[in-house]
């Protein structure tokens, strides 16, 4: 008990530079952006970029749990597309009888589907004892194929009658803050609370840093990891709820390669890829860094359109190197 209190008392006094890494990197990217382009620091552009990063940030909060518990989820992008498709079909089916309330029911159903998808991943990994990389590579294919099949390779659009009542969820704002950003903040606060302030959060880290030791200390590693996958599924569904009103459709390319962006955001944020250490706020900074870099690539004319991806790769590696150097 005493050790816990001293730790908490000590924490604010020391500035942990290593933990500040992702925020310093973000500040640096933003500063460079402001210097090289006058259009960067405008209110609209910042709002666009932050709102756009909401999807990756929300999913990455879930991924922080999965990764810090010592697993990996490659299926999030496909799962996102699948959940989006299921939600749109549900809403369209209910619209004639329920009107705009179909959105609420559809969203609730989406959360259940997301949680079940996560549970499926979790059970394959923990009960089936299959490497998370392979298990979620499998479900990635399954979810992607399901959305392609549901849409016949085309797109699943939402009913016109639902577009207007649903539109504010992406384009609206609360006190000037775009709604997806508010949702992200809520998800991050809840996520940070669970990871840092609850028994579950500590068990997550324990399972990730050394599964055997955790097991000997009485932690059910399987349960902890399965729960992490369910949290991931819920986060994917929340992202899907915010995503639908943006373009109003799910297609087989929805969420394509998002899993890589999500994992990159988590790792840039300071979470260890091998587990045992999770940084929720860092994850958000990571998601913002990725989106800001992409934005700057378009705004500045310095980079040939053919080389954009290469420059992004170099910046990400530099950010990680700087991180290590600060440590």
């Amino acid at each position: 008990m005493t050790t816990v209190t001293t730790e908490i008392a000590d924490a604010p006094r020391r500035i942990r530079w290593a933990d500040m890494g992702p925020f310093i990197a973000l500040a640096l990217v933003v500063l460079i952006g402001t210097l090289i382009n006058t259009n960067f620091a405008t209110g609209t552009n910042i709002a666009n970029v932050v709102t756009r990063s909401a999807f990756i940030a929300i999913i990455a909060v879930g991924a922080t749990f999965v990764i810090s518990s010592g697993c990996l989820d490659l299926s999030v992008g496909s799962m996102m597309a699948f959940v989006t498709g299921v939600m749109i079909l549900t809403m369209n089916r209910l619209e004639p009888t329920m009107g705009a309330n179909a959105i609420l029911v559809g969203a609730g159903f989406g959360l259940i589907v997301g949680a079940l998808c996560g549970l499926l991943n979790g059970l394959i990994v923990t009960v089936g004892k299959i490497e998370p990389f392979i298990a979620t590579l499998g479900t990635m294919g399954i979810f992607r194929a399901l959305i392609t099949w549901m849409s016949d390779g085309g797109s699943i659009p939402i009913e016109r009658a639902l577009r207007d009542p649903y539109r504010p969820v992406y384009f609206g704002n609360v006190l000037g803050i775009p709604l997806p950003v508010v949702v992200t903040l809520a998800v991050v606060l809840v996520g940070a609370f669970i990871l840092y302030r609850t028994k579950y959060g500590r068990r997550c880290m324990a399972a990730g840093s050394n599964a055997d030791v955790a097991r000997f200390s009485g932690v059910s590693v399987a349960r902890v990891r399965t729960t992490a996958f369910v949290i991931q599924g819920l986060c994917v569904a929340i992202a899907a709820i915010c995503y639908i009103p943006r373009l109003g459709a799910a297609t087989p390319t929805t969420g394509q390669l998002w899993e890589l962006q999500v994992i990159t955001a988590v790792v840039i944020g300071g979470t260890l890829l091998r587990g045992g250490k999770g940084r929720i706020w860092g994850t958000v900074a990571g998601a913002l860094i990725l989106e800001v870099i992409a934005n700057l690539m378009v705004l500045s004319n310095m980079v040939s359109e053919y080389l954009v991806a290469a420059v992004q790769g170099v910046i990400i590696i530099l950010a990680m190197l700087a991180h290590r150097f600060i440590k």
Partner: protein, 320 residues
């Protein structure tokens, strides 16, 4: 008439003579047409699969002696395997193929041809054109050029425009080339060209960035209708009103609906129709159902889709 065509005609008439003398009681020989196409991974290939399946149903209903087999493959390697599987179990009278890539599929298609199979190639040509008996394709340069001509005329030959391009491929290069070549002769300035990978989401983000970067944009060309939908959403959100035209290409049904409704910002589209697979299957079937020899290259034009002719290009049941 070419020698081959004359010979084919001779063979066909001989065959029909035999069929006639047999008294019609015995049905003609069963003919097999194999169709190998990419799996439905995005809108356009979704359309290809749809039209191939429609053609299968219609042709089998109309000509009971023709059996059409449609096989989809998710990658070039898978398509090579599919060709091997198709030709291993049976004799193929014809193969209609939309190759994933020209280089990788040329060899395997040549193998199939060596058994005497009639080869129809769609969209992407093989590296050795002598292998194909029939080649059906759209005109990507015309897709870009026709859109550019229309846009240049409407803008009065001057203005500032932005362009979104797709995935780095020959198709994308040709469209961009066709477009920029026309624009070179006008006073229209292309402010920016960036990749958005034929993806709605990426097009939305890219258009937001274009709008932040350029205070004045007269028109947008999105090179593909899927991307156009993302562009339109970004423009709508920005509240910017100076953008007179936002155009795409390919003839997606949602965009054709806009054209039919006389949308002021998107009054036209340019077809690069996935139904070209259907045209090719019908032309191939003509070999076996009647005396209609089909050899040579068939290039689909890319006429502007306007409210007047939009019905021809509108397939409400197709996924694309």
């Amino acid at each position: 008439m070419t020698r081959t065509a004359r010979r084919a005609l001779g063979l066909l008439s001989a065959a029909s003579l035999v069929a006639l003398t047999a008294g019609g009681a015995i049905a003609q020989d069963k003919r097999t047409i194999a169709v190998s196409i990419p799996a439905a991974t995005h809108g356009w290939t979704g359309g290809v699969v749809y039209h191939a399946e429609q053609a299968e149903k219609e042709i089998e209903a109309a000509f009971p002696n023709i059996d059409v087999i449609v096989k989809t493959s998710p990658s070039a390697t898978a398509q090579v395997s599919a060709l091997e599987d198709l030709s291993a179990g049976q004799t193929l009278d014809a193969l209609v193929i939309l190759p994933f890539t020209s280089e990788e599929l040329t060899g395997p298609v040549e193998q199939v041809k060596s058994n005497g199979t009639y080869i129809a190639v769609v969209d992407r040509g093989l590296t050795d054109p002598t292998i194909q008996d029939l080649y059906v394709a759209g005109d990507n340069i015309a897709v870009g050029a026709n859109t550019a001509k229309w846009m240049a005329e409407k803008l009065g030959g001057e203005g500032k425009i932005v362009v979104l391009r797709g995935i780095p491929t020959v198709i994308d290069d040709e469209r961009i080339q066709g477009f920029t070549d026309v624009m070179k002769d006008t006073n229209i300035e292309i402010l920016d060209i960036q990749y958005a990978n034929w993806n709605q989401d990426e097009a939305f983000s890219l258009m937001q960035d274009y709008l932040a970067k350029y205070p004045h944009i007269d028109a947008v060309w999105a090179n593909d209708d899927d991307m156009l939908l993302g562009v339109l959403e970004a423009v709508k959100q920005s509240g910017r009103t100076e953008i007179k035209y936002a155009l795409g290409g390919n003839g997606m049904k949602d965009v054709i609906e806009m054209v039919k409704a006389g949308d002021p910002v998107t009054p036209i589209s340019t077809p690069y129709p996935p139904s070209m697979i259907k045209s090719a299957i019908y032309m191939t079937a003509a070999q076996f159902s009647g005396q209609a020899p089909m050899r040579g290259n068939f290039k689909l034009d890319a006429p502007l889709i306007t409210p007047e002719n939009a019905d021809q290009f509108y397939f409400p049941d197709s996924p694309f």
